[in-house]
């Protein structure tokens, strides 16, 4: 048999007589049949239809959503009944709750621990100069910002002290956010309940290293000779000059680094840094460092969701209620007691703009039927 005949048949160009002849040949021996089958397989696996179009994709995409809804309904029907039940009960009890009891929020202060252990209190209204043990002005606090000066550049007498690192530690209480500008020009925006430890001045020829607990957004001043390293417990994040956010709160299972610009490398503390063993993060991606397994998971993200906190917003994406209440406590400097343990594991997504805690609680009540009351300056959820 001429292979041309097989080709002709497989490309749909053979006449009925030719097909009859070909089939006869195929059935004449197992060897012939085997050859034909191999040919047909090769054709099937290399054929390319002309069917793809944007229209085709859009139509398929629509069906993905339909399928999801269908599955949601079939699984969710039994829960829907319970849910309606809960809403009913919550409306019934709503009037009985005494919500007139207002929350009194204590005004916690931002503290700065100097190298000699002295603690400076930074209040909103008062601007002040930060002076080291030698009497040098190392920085100025004004408004919501603390700015360090590169004193070694101005004062040659302190040149000697340039060789050793002197640390300050800034502690942000619940309910506040604050910005610090380090002596190299790097800006760090600190979220509520976070602590940043950093050298007053960086040492020539060494990496610029700071220690973070909590959440901060860094805008690192570019200095290719001096990489900038943020340490969070077992994790190091190393950059040259870039913008990124790190969240490392105790209620989260992982440390989350979200990169806006440039590139950062993530590696284990205590290991020498090299490009082979470090994980490189690209802009628009997040890296979740699992605290337990120390594995990293990368994900493309909408970076806004992770930086909106700087403008006072609160963003929750599929967060458990347990996680949400911890973040509310920190953001508003309140105490939330949850007596409803099953609620803790449920997940919610929500964005709160600049709202009071009372407004947030009202929204949670209206949207998710979460009941609350305020007693002894605590928020109690039942």
């Amino acid at each position: 048999m001429d292979y041309f005949q097989i080709d002709k048949y497989l490309s749909n160009n053979a006449t009925e007589e030719e097909v009859a002849l070909l089939f006869k040949w195929i059935d004449a021996s197992p060897e012939n049949k085997r050859t034909f089958i191999q040919y047909k397989k090769a054709w099937a696996l290399t054929s390319i239809g002309n069917a793809y179009s944007d229209q085709m994709w859009k139509q398929t995409q629509k069906r993905l959503h339909k399928n999801r809804l269908k599955r949601l309904f079939s699984n969710g029907l039994k829960y829907a009944a319970i849910f309606i039940g809960i809403i009913g009960i919550s409306f019934f009890f709503l009037n009985k709750f005494d919500n007139s009891n207002n929350l009194i929020i204590k005004n916690n202060v931002i503290t700065l621990e100097l190298e000699n252990g002295n603690i400076e209190v930074l209040t909103e209204l008062e601007d002040k100069k930060i002076i080291d043990s030698k009497g040098n002005v190392i920085g100025v606090k004004s408004g919501g910002e603390l700015r360090y000066e590169d004193i070694t550049a101005l004062d040659s007498s302190s040149k000697n002290s340039k060789e050793e690192l002197v640390y300050n530690e800034l502690k942000i209480p619940h309910g506040k956010i604050f910005q610090v500008v380090l002596s190299d020009g790097t800006k760090a925006f600190l979220n509520a309940g976070s602590t940043l430890k950093y050298p007053v001045n960086f040492v020539e020829g060494k990496v610029r290293k700071v220690f973070l607990d909590g959440e901060a957004f860094f805008d690192v001043a570019k200095d290719t000779n001096h990489p900038f390293v943020v340490n969070v417990n077992e994790m190091n994040v190393r950059v040259l000059g870039t913008k990124f956010n790190i969240a490392s709160y105790s209620e989260d299972k992982f440390y989350k680094t979200v990169l806006l610009e440039g590139s950062v490398a993530i590696y284990k503390k205590g290991t020498p840094f090299n490009l082979e063993s470090a994980a490189l993060l690209k802009p628009g991606y997040s890296a979740e460092w699992d605290k337990k397994s120390e594995e990293i998971l990368f994900e493309m993200v909408d970076t806004h969701l992770y930086t909106d906190w700087m403008s006072g917003k609160l963003v929750f994406v599929n967060a458990t209620f347990k996680n949400i209440r911890k973040k509310l406590e920190r953001h508003y400097n309140v105490t939330i007691v949850n007596n409803n343990k099953t609620l803790d594991e449920k997940t919610y997504s929500a964005i709160f703009d600049i709202e009071s805690i009372e407004q947030v609680l009202e929204t949670l009540n209206k949207s998710f039927a979460i009941k609350y009351q305020i007693k002894n300056n605590q928020i109690i959820i039942n």
């Binding site: 397989k41 696996l45 054929s47 398929t60 993905l64 399928n67």
Partner: protein
Amino acid sequence: MKKIDLDPSEIRFKQFKKGDERAFEYYFKAYFNSIVGFCMQFLGDEDKSKSISQEAFIKLWVNREKVKKINGIKSFLYTSAKSECLNLIRHKKVVDKYKNVQLEKRENELNIEVLNALEFDAMAITELERLIDKSIAQLPDRCKLIFEKRRIENKKNKEIAEELGITVKAVEANMTRALKILKAKLSNYLSFFFI
């Protein structure tokens, strides 16, 4: 610390598993025509081939968490298309091509036999990809260029013709030539492999 593979295709695969539609769209674009082409070989009916392929992609999306490796995507799609094609042929839902009923019957039998002989585990797909790449690399330059514009960039014959400043006929001729060489080479290789 675990070493992380930052290969973009790995990232895309992880995104897909997490439910990212953009990652899924990428696979849809890349494989839809191949799956349709596959079905066409057994059904000879474009509408049915399209709907089987679309169904295969929707099933893939629903079962994305079960797919373990990147190559698992192709094996899932081909396996799903294979069983649907078998179904249609067995239930005689394919359009008749010949006047002769015996011929029709024999063709269906052969198609069932070929389909049953196809295994789409991830290893087979990996091997197949390697063989196809190897075969493509051996194509004459012009054929290769045109073939890849069709296969990888999903371009239509007309678009390719405009881009290269040649006639649509010339594109078609090159495609036919490329496919002929490719299929001959591949069927040769396939006889040594398990696919």
